[in-house]
């Protein structure tokens, strides 16, 4: 369906990534946010608090991130599209409720504007060191989707994708920004509402007596009812059967947890968003994401000026990890170079997927600034040998 025009600020704007993310959420149909202030993400909810009363929605500032991350899920079951926004320390507090959303299949979006860590770390400076936490931070086996924008325009566009994926697969989607992308200001074009595709909630139309809250058909994604619809359904974070009733047996656990994984894995080709440049028989492929991809772009250009054969692969979808594409490239390339604002997270995935077919070189950075292109270039030169 098309976006509700009331939430869409059509036009050409000069916005930072945080504000663009908020506009993306509004365009996607988000009418509820619960938040707790934390640098460098707060601008997203500040704008939402200003905008949403005029389009028919609610913002509530909660007492902490534990509350924010579950209040939004209450709102989802009450019928709203909802999200929360945070940064590292708050993201840590939200982990339990990312697990709850995964387990109860509550469609929602968690925005993490990454800053330097661990702990309070660097509140005003960038990092990309929450990438593994986004994937594995809550306990147990589960799957999420994580998207990584590298510009304010993408903060708008991909926030809509994040909401759409969350509704399509009934899964929490991590929107992994970073301080630089959040605070850089660039041109953002917001199209007319009738050019924005939004995925509506997968609501059931079944008669009450036929509805199984966690029963699924082909794609492994159950249909949803909202509180007050008359279905008198039960939702629990305990291991549950198709009725949504607790059923703590190994068989039920196996069936449920495997479905939570497979509903995402089976659709990985549709979920995988990549930006590729000159990947045909290059010696080196630079794999990057988020703000680092923009620094990597310069490093790739410098390497080409020196006659090196370098391609570029940008991960827009970081989770589920696009390992099939890395595997394909590993067959034709000598080495991967992976710059990221952490001491080695996504590079492990690249190395795992390459499986020894191509060498993998990390370009670690502890955060607080972005790489210098020369630092990436140095590793590209080394990898080309």
């Amino acid at each position: 369906m098309k976006a509700d025009p009331r939430g869409v600020l059509t036009g050409t704007h000069f916005l930072d990534g945080d504000h663009a993310c908020c506009e993306g959420a509004l365009a996607a149909g988000a009418r509820f946010a619960a938040g707790y202030p934390i640098t460098p993400s707060t601008e997203v909810v500040e704008r939402f608090a200003s905008r949403v009363p005029k389009v028919g929605g609610t913002f509530i500032q909660m007492e902490d991130e534990l509350a924010a991350s579950i209040t939004l899920q209450g709102a989802v079951w009450g019928g709203a599209k909802a999200f929360t926004v945070t940064s590292g320390p708050g993201f840590s507090l939200m982990m339990e409720h990312i697990g709850y959303a995964a387990m109860t299949e509550t469609p929602c979006v968690f925005v993490d504007v990454q800053r330097g860590g661990p702990s309070t770390g660097l509140p005003t400076l960038p990092a990309q060191a929450d990438m593994m936490q986004a994937r594995w931070g809550s306990h147990g086996d589960y799957e999420i989707i994580a998207l990584c924008p590298n510009s304010p325009q993408e903060c708008f566009d991909l926030t809509i994708r994040a909401f759409n994926f969350s509704e399509e697969f009934r899964v929490p989607v991590m929107f992994m920004m970073d301080e630089v992308v959040g605070h850089m200001t660039e041109k953002v074009i917001i199209p007319p509402a009738d050019q924005i595709e939004v995925v509506p909630r997968r609501k059931t139309r079944k008669p009450v007596e036929e509805y199984l809250p966690y029963g699924t058909n082909g794609d492994g994604v159950p249909e949803m009812a909202h509180a007050g619809d008359g279905y008198k359904f039960h939702v629990t974070g305990l291991t549950h059967d198709e009725h949504g009733y607790p059923n703590m047996t190994p068989a039920t656990q196996d069936k449920l947890v495997r479905r939570l994984q497979s509903k995402i894995h089976d659709a990985i080709d549709r979920i995988t968003l990549l930006e590729e440049e000159c990947l045909e028989s290059e010696d080196v492929v630079v794999v990057s994401f988020g703000i680092t991809s923009r620094v990597a772009q310069r490093a790739v250009e410098m390497a080409r000026e020196r006659g090196l054969k370098v391609g570029k692969l940008r991960l827009i979808t970081c989770w589920p990890f696009p390992e099939k594409r890395i595997r394909e490239l590993a067959a034709t390339t000598k080495a991967f170079v992976v710059p990221e604002l952490n001491l080695g997270q996504m590079v492990r995935e690249v190395e795992r997927a390459a499986n020894g077919k191509a060498k993998t070189f990390a370009v670690p950075h502890a955060g607080g600034s972005v790489h210098r292109p020369e630092d990436i270039l140095k590793v590209i030169v080394e990898a080309s040998r």
Binding site: K54, T71, G78, A80, A227, K232, H234
Partner: protein, 290 residues
């Protein structure tokens, strides 16, 4: 009509396909559920409009046994979940049904802030003075000197007086009963449904398996006798004076019944004042569904 056709009047409120329940013999939680169901029958509220939210623990399991839209959430977070539910769909009557440890320890911060905001929630707090589901550890509500599995020599911490806490934080309706006071409890729950704002009903309830046994306080029946003999009804009692001890008097009754605007009324008034005609009611745009 044969005698076999007689059904319990609360049966339609229960997920009978989930029986038997997990609660121990002598436990008071089932009694509170019975009172809750009777209050619903009495008040004739449309059951479709009720959503019940629980946290984790023995009382947290209530959500799984009532035939209502029901949410068994995470430990301590029933109130913020319920807050989101109520704000997204103000037409819902949202009940939070959970235990003392869940609501006042791990969820204590949410309890006081929801009372401060005066979110229109009906909170039923079953207080068995202990963490029962995990085997009987000290809770913030455990009376001084009581033996628990984590205070084997007796607890030394002062206990929370929950009615005092929630009154101070801003609740509009505060009552306490024991599981002996079934009629009064059902009536209080009915009254809470008539209130707009944060209502809190504490129900003192036995845990014969862990609390009573370790403290040599007898079984479920002995506890009923204690509740009967030592309870004193004092409506309007100052909540500062209703703290509990292990074997002393239990002050019960309706302590607070006052009116102040609930969160959504305040939000509405503020937005209308600031935005005038530009304000769009949130309820008008609950997610347009397929």
């Amino acid at each position: 009509m044969s005698i076999l056709d007689v059904t319990n009047p609360v049966e339609p409120f229960l997920r009978t396909d989930r029986m038997p329940h997990i609660w121990c013999p002598g436990c008071g939680i089932g009694t509170t559920v019975n009172c809750f169901a009777r209050a619903l029958i009495e008040s004739k509220i449309d059951l479709q409009s009720i959503a019940l939210v629980s946290g984790i623990g023995c009382t947290g399991r209530v959500a799984g046994y009532v035939k209502l839209d029901s949410f068994h959430t995470t430990h301590g977070r029933a109130i913020p979940f319920a807050t989101g539910l109520k704000l997204a769909n103000p037409k819902l009557n949202v009940v939070v049904y959970s235990g003392d440890g869940d609501l006042s320890a791990i969820g204590g911060n949410h309890l006081i802030h929801a009372a401060r905001r005066n979110i229109d929630l009906k909170v039923i707090c079953v207080n068995n003075l202990i963490y029962a589901m995990t085997g009987g550890q000290t809770a913030p509500t455990t009376p001084g000197h009581a033996i628990t599995s984590t205070s084997p020599y007796g607890t030394c911490e002062p206990a929370f007086n929950l009615p005092h806490l929630v009154e101070a934080a801003g609740a509009v309706y505060v009552a306490r009963w024991t599981t002996f006071h079934v009629k009064q409890l059902a009536r209080s729950i009915g009254e809470a449904f008539q209130k707009k704002g944060f209502s809190f009903i504490e129900v003192i309830s036995p845990c014969p398996t862990l609390y009573q046994r370790r403290n040599k306080l007898g079984d479920g029946l002995d506890t009923m006798k204690y509740y009967k003999e030592k309870s004193k009804v004092k409506h309007g009692a100052p909540t500062s004076e209703v703290g509990l001890t292990m074997t002393g008097e239990i002050i019960v009754g309706k302590f607070v019944d006052r009116d102040r605007p609930d969160y959504q009324s305040l939000l509405h008034a503020q937005m209308v004042e600031s935005l005038g005609e530009c304000y769009v009611e949130p309820s008008e745009t609950v997610c347009s569904c397929s």
